[in-house]
Amino acid sequence: MVALATAVGAVLAQTPVADPAGAAASTGAAEFWVFWILAPLSLAAAVSMVVLRNPVHAALMLVVNFFTIAMFYAVLEAQFLAAVQIIVYAGAIMVLFLFVLMLLGVDRELPTRVAQIRGQQPAALLLGALLFAALAVGVAGPFLGADSACNAPPDAVAAAGADAQPCVGLAAANEEGNVRGVARLLFTDYVWPFEVTSVLLVIAAIGAMVLGRRTERPEDLVDGRGVRKEPLRARAARPTGSTALDREAAE
């Protein structure tokens, strides 16, 4: 027990606790191992989400994937983002997914459909490979050359002069706690996008109602004129074709 604890302590001890200069912290051994455990897990979940035949299993793999992404955020010291990732993605969006999958009864294995357009699959593979290459270049970029304009160390910023793009660095960004750091940006520089997000939510609510509602009352579909003339019940009792609206349409 003590030996184990010593080992864990030794690994964690290599992690610099705080960088006094406030510059970017170097990665420690713990980060290294956590990454190499999480990354294959994350990838495996993503791949099995695509490969698995049962939609519910695929959705669960997506949940696992979201969870590993949340852990990545946590490892990167973005705790708030990690919590939000779990609450919103894993907790809300995937539950909706599962509802739809389970309740629509599409959770049985479906036969693979043959591609209808000839050459669709090779083309999709080719384009997918291209996209992957583009993203790989993007991700690998910082390791290949001077591909970031972000002059992180203070002396580099000074050397770059007027063109400097000072990057804040993790330690400074999380100085007063991660949540406050997010809040500070969100409610000052990004306050306008934040307000516009509420517009987005209003529209989403409208969309859910307009497209999700099954029954609609007649007067929801036309202007008030014409429907008001007699109560609905009375009209419904008559044979169809004699409502005020129909008369109006016939005129």
Binding site: M1, V2, A5, T6, V8, G9, L12, A13, N54, V56, H57, L60, V63, Q79, F80, A82, A83, I86, I87, A90, G91, A92, V95, L98, F99, M102, L103, D107, G177, N178, V179, R214, T215, E216, R217, P218, E219, L221, V222, G224, V227, R228, K229, E230, P231, L232, R233, R235, A236, T240, T243, L245
Partner: protein, 419 residues
């Protein structure tokens, strides 16, 4: 960080685990005893003093039972669901401070497993993962009633998660921090006279909202619809047996304890209380306070079960969406308002503002018809889809498949198709 630190961390975690496992066993026993007392029965009294060993015996029995899985169950998900439930229920406890801080040698030990910056968001995050345990248990059983129960209960949980999240937000606003330790610290001292500065007083509405949501989240009576025996057999866990069932059962009771602990942390000062005596007593007292406060809430949970009848499902959803949600939203903004007001304004101005506020409230009251249940154009409505009269004989809430013929026949002017 050396090995001693790691050992302390492990010890604190083991302490939390033990506290909480013993608590669960006691709760199960306590529930049976208390409910029995309230119903003028005796309850379990054979095993151990006052039947205290009954839970252990039940647990042991479940472990030796045959593990039956339905033929068309989804094996792995069927296994994973109770595990998710139980693990999540335990891990949620991590952010709860269950005791004070004391010093051994030169090391400060705080009886709280984890105090992250996101604090009690952890509880909400784990709560949303906990939904999976139930919905997956229901789905993977490959049987009708569990599926219905699972979906019902997850819909219930997400509905009440909203009010809960907003009630928590109000406390965060009042404290100015998400950390559990900050929230506890904010409740130290007294408000006036001997009354402690617990949030339950200034944040009373948030407390009520949170408590109701907590009952609904843990699916305790009167919100135990997922297990409504009359309608759904046993709900999502109908097909479970043996140790898997034990896990689900355990997770349910664990959640009750965790929710009580969160309530205590947020509203009743956590382990706060008067400290006295020698150092050793001072170190132990907070934990005792904490346990006692949690115990009170556990009793209330049990009391509710013995007293209240189960809600109808539509009433349940109505309460969550139409009462708690708007009220919580208003309370959050009111809290924010009062916090800012206290920071910026003098008392006299506040009183004047309160008068204006009262006037606005009066105006709102007269505009209350705006919030009547459903919009209806004059003369047009009254037909399909309007508000149901209270004496509507149709049974509420059963999730019957909706057929095309269910649509009201008065739905005459519909969209024109195929233009």
């Amino acid at each position: 960080m050396d090995w001693l630190d790691v050992l302390i961390i492990v010890a604190v975690a083991v302490g939390a685990f033990a506290l909480w496992l013993v608590g669960t066993a006691l709760l199960i026993w306590g529930e049976r005893r208390v409910v029995a007392k309230m119903q003028s029965r005796v309850g379990p009294n054979r095993l151990g003093p006052a039947g205290l060993m009954q839970t252990l015996a039940d647990g042991a029995k479940l472990f030796f039972k045959e593990d039956i899985a339905p033929a068309n169950a989804d094996r792995w998900v069927y296994l994973a669901a109770p595990m998710v439930s139980a693990v999540v229920a335990l891990v949620t406890f991590a952010v709860i401070p269950y005791g004070g801080t004391f010093t051994i040698g030169d090391r400060q030990i705080s009886l709280q497993v984890w105090d992250p910056d996101v604090g009690l968001l952890w509880v909400l995050a784990m709560g949303s993962i906990g939904v999976y345990g139930i919905v997956l248990a229901g789905w993977s059983s490959g049987s009708k009633y569990p599926l219905l129960g699972g979906v019902r209960s997850s819909a219930q949980m997400i509905s009440y998660e909203l009010a809960m999240g907003l009630a928590v937000a109000a406390v965060f606003i009042y404290t100015g921090s998400l950390r559990a330790s900050d929230i506890v610290a904010n409740q130290a001292g007294t408000l006036f006279g001997p009354i402690p500065a617990w949030h339950v007083i200034p944040m009373a509405p948030a407390f009520v909202l949170f408590f109701i949501s907590a009952v609904a989240e843990t699916q305790r009576p009167p919100f135990d619809l997922p297990e409504a025996e009359g309608e759904l057999v046993g709900g999502f866990n109908t097909e479970y047996s043996g140790a898997k069932f034990a896990m689900i059962f355990l997770a349910e009771f664990m959640n009750v304890i965790t929710m009580s602990a969160v309530l205590v942390t947020m509203f009743l000062g956590g382990p706060n209380g008067p400290l006295f005596g020698p150092d050793i007593v001072r170190a132990v007292l907070p934990t005792i306070y904490f346990v006692v406060k949690v115990g009170i809430f556990l009793f209330v949970f049990i009391w509710l079960r013995a007293t209240l009848p189960r809600l109808r499902y539509d009433r349940l959803m109505d309460l969550g969406w139409k009462v708690m949600l708007p009220f919580a939203l208003l309370w959050v903004m009111a809290t924010g308002f009062s916090v800012v007001l206290r920071e910026t304004t003098e008392r006299a101005t506040v009183i004047r503002a309160a008068a204006i506020g009262a006037a606005v409230a009066a105006v709102l009251f007269f505009l209350a018809p705006l919030f009547s249940r459903r919009a209806s154009e004059p003369g047009g409505g009254g037909g399909d889809g309007g508000a149901r009269p209270l004496d509507d004989p149709r049974p509420g809430g059963e999730a019957l498949p909706e057929r095309a013929g269910d649509r009201p026949s008065t739905d005459r002017p519909t969209e024109e198709v195929g233009v």
